[in-house]
């Protein structure tokens, strides 16, 4: 199977001139469809930067980053938006819209495509929330949910659009052991059902066992594969 994410000699640095701060150095990695890859490493090792480049949120200039057959190096805004739309994103904080209910938050992902009717969108969002165990919390606003429940809503939001790739940036950082593990297990289970690729950045060693492969990043260099 061909790689769904193919990164070749990616280098990235912050700042310019004398203050230039290299973050990623010659990173090369290929991830196949359906694979669950964990990226670990100490703070400041460039994990999140790597993830934002893959997700089309940050522009990189050196090397090659092929995501879903799109070259993201020196890409324009349209290409990045197209890639983002095919990726589900789970953030460190839940990042839900606090004025919307769980159901409305999840269906925000579907409103973008505008291919479904309102009823279909709400049905699919409700199904997805039921799948993450929140079938009885559809009309709760984020304030009325626990941290673990909120993170599960954001898992539902990332998966409801049936993305090919899910990127997760320390999804368990703000959760206790049990709810963190629950959220990641649900993510893994749902992703395996639909052959979704998951790239998960974490330094939470409690969840290493969900991964097919663990990649360690240190000072912008991949240590072992």
């Amino acid at each position: 199977m061909t790689a769904i994410i193919d990164v070749d000699r990616l280098s990235f640095s912050f700042g310019s001139g004398a203050l230039v701060q290299p973050v990623l150095k010659d990173v090369t990695i290929a991830i196949r469809q359906g694979e669950i890859v964990l990226i670990t490493g100490p703070s400041g090792s460039g994990k999140t930067t790597f993830l934002t480049i893959i997700g089309g949120l940050r522009q990189a200039f050196h090397g090659s980053v092929m995501v879903l057959d799109q070259q993201l190096i020196n890409s324009n805004e349209q290409v990045k938006i197209k890639v983002r739309q095919q990726i589900g994103y789970i953030f460190q904080q839940h990042n839900l819209l606090k004025s919307l209910t769980a159901l409305q938050n999840v269906s925000m992902t579907l409103e973008m495509g505008n291919t479904l009717t309102e009823q279909q969108r709400l049905e699919r969002s409700a199904q997805m929330l039921t799948a993450v165990g929140l079938g009885d919390r559809l009309h709760y606003k984020p304030d009325q949910l626990s941290a673990g429940q909120r993170q599960r809503v954001s898992v539902a939001r990332a998966l409801v659009g049936q993305p090919k790739i899910v990127l997760a940036d320390e999804p368990t950082a703000s959760l206790d052991k049990q709810s963190g593990y629950e959220a990641v297990s649900i993510l893994k289970q749902l992703a395996k059902e639909s052959q979704t690729t998951i790239l998960l950045v974490t330094h939470d060693y409690r969840i290493l066992d969900v991964a097919d492969r663990v990649v360690e990043l240190e000072d912008g260099v991949i240590k072992n594969t």
């Binding site: 999140t48 934002t52 990726i87 589900g88 953030f91 819209l97 004025s99 925000m108 940036d169």
Partner: protein, 387 residues
């Protein structure tokens, strides 16, 4: 595509109603601007309407006025013979002079003097299209008689009551006269009250005036004559120092005086613009802090694939909702304030559809402008910097 606007508008709406306190504050801001603009326009229109209330009631096809006359209330006189010359035109049926003067009127009860406008005219003519004047013209032929405008400010005294009690003798310009009846015309910014009287009585009230120097000439044409053509012919014939106005032109001339010559038009224009600016700043502040507070949410949406244009539409939809939500109560409140003002300044302040649309467009443009200024803040919502 309905979704193009519907989805961002729906999100904007949901975010607005989520924080009720902020929503109420924002609505109050728009409401304030709305009321401010309504009042400025209301006073201005009342001013213009009252300024032309007297010429509005004149019954003529063409009007002669000295070119140096800035407005009816401060006329420059010209020779009566100039008016009589127009009779040489075959289209002209009748001509009548009108004499105008400001004079102090003594309140019958308090004896306090206050200036009002005195109109002198030929009681045999029909130049005023006011029914109550027409019915009492015979009485004006008597010596030292006048009719008093019931719509004059109350400072002149309760004339109707006084007349019923038979107390009708007072002084105008220190000349003793008898008020023999009432009519309804309306006050203007130039004069707090009005009196009509005969030409002869006018000369008695103003001893320095004489009948050959007139303030306004009123020309009536034969029914089948063309007003424009006669106007053009008269312009060629008459002395160059007189203006020949049609009815509409006379109105326009009066209105222009108040709008441009007098500083009053500028004052109201300035007040209107200030209302716009104050509202703009309030709405801008609300939208700006909203974007700043929701930066994280916008960045999240951007990360999952929403385009910049979507957020711009969200901001403009918010601005639009604020405009509408502030305008509706603002308009209702202004109707009430118009009634209050009418009872205080004795000038008509009608809430017309025209005014409602004007102010709505005004408020809409204000909110749109605030939106334009606020969307620059959207750049701060960059997902790469947030995560």
């Amino acid at each position: 595509m309905i979704g193009w606007f519907y989805f961002p508008a729906r999100l904007a709406w949901r975010q607005l109603v989520f924080d009720r306190t902020k929503l109420v504050a924002a609505i109050c801001g728009v409401l304030f601007a709305c009321v401010l603009v309504f009042m400025q326009l209301g006073f201005r229109d009342a001013l213009y309407a009252s300024a032309i209330s007297a010429p509005l009631k004149l019954n003529g096809d063409l009007f002669l006025m000295h070119k140096q006359s800035e407005a009816l209330w401060r006329p420059v006189t010209f020779k009566r013979s100039e008016l009589m010359r127009t009779l040489g035109n075959p289209a002209v049926a009748e001509v009548y002079p009108l004499y105008l003067g400001l004079a102090p009127f003594k309140n019958i009860e308090t004896r306090v003097k206050r200036t009002l406008m005195v109109y002198g005219f030929d009681p045999d003519s029909q130049i005023f299209s006011v029914e109550t004047i027409r019915g009492q013209q015979a009485g004006l032929k008597l010596k030292d008689t006048v009719l008093f405008d019931e719509y004059s400010r109350p400072e002149f005294g309760p004339l109707r009551q006084l007349l019923d009690n038979g107390r009708n003798i007072t002084e105008i310009n220190d000349y003793k006269i008898a008020v023999i009846g009432l009519f309804k015309l309306g006050v203007s910014f130039a004069a707090d009250g009005n009196i009509v009287t005969s030409e002869l009585n006018f000369m008695r009230i103003f001893p320095k005036r004489n009948r050959s120097d007139i303030d306004l000439g009123i020309i009536k044409l034969y029914p089948d004559a063309s007003i424009e053509q006669t106007q053009a012919e008269l312009r060629l014939r008459l002395n160059e120092f007189v203006n020949v106005f049609t009815y509409e032109e006379l109105m326009q001339y009066e209105r222009n005086y108040w709008a441009n010559m007098a500083p009053i038009g500028f004052i109201f224009g300035f007040g209107t613009v200030m209302g716009w600016v104050v509202g703009l700043v309030i709405v801008y502040q609300i939208l700006f802090t909203d974007i700043a507070n929701l930066r994280n949410e916008f960045a999240t949406l951007k990360a999952i694939g929403y385009e910049q244009g979507y957020f711009i539409r969200v901001v403009f939809a918010s601005a639009f909702f604020l405009a509408v939500l502030g305008f509706v109560p603002g308009c209702a409140l202004s109707v009430g304030l118009y009634h209050l003002a009418e009872s205080q300044i004795f000038m008509p302040m009608p809430m017309t559809l025209n005014k409602v649309t004007t102010v709505f467009v005004f408020i809409l443009s204000m909110c749109a402008m605030a939106g334009f200024l606020a969307i620059r803040k959207l750049k701060a919502a960059d997902p790469a910097d947030m995560f």
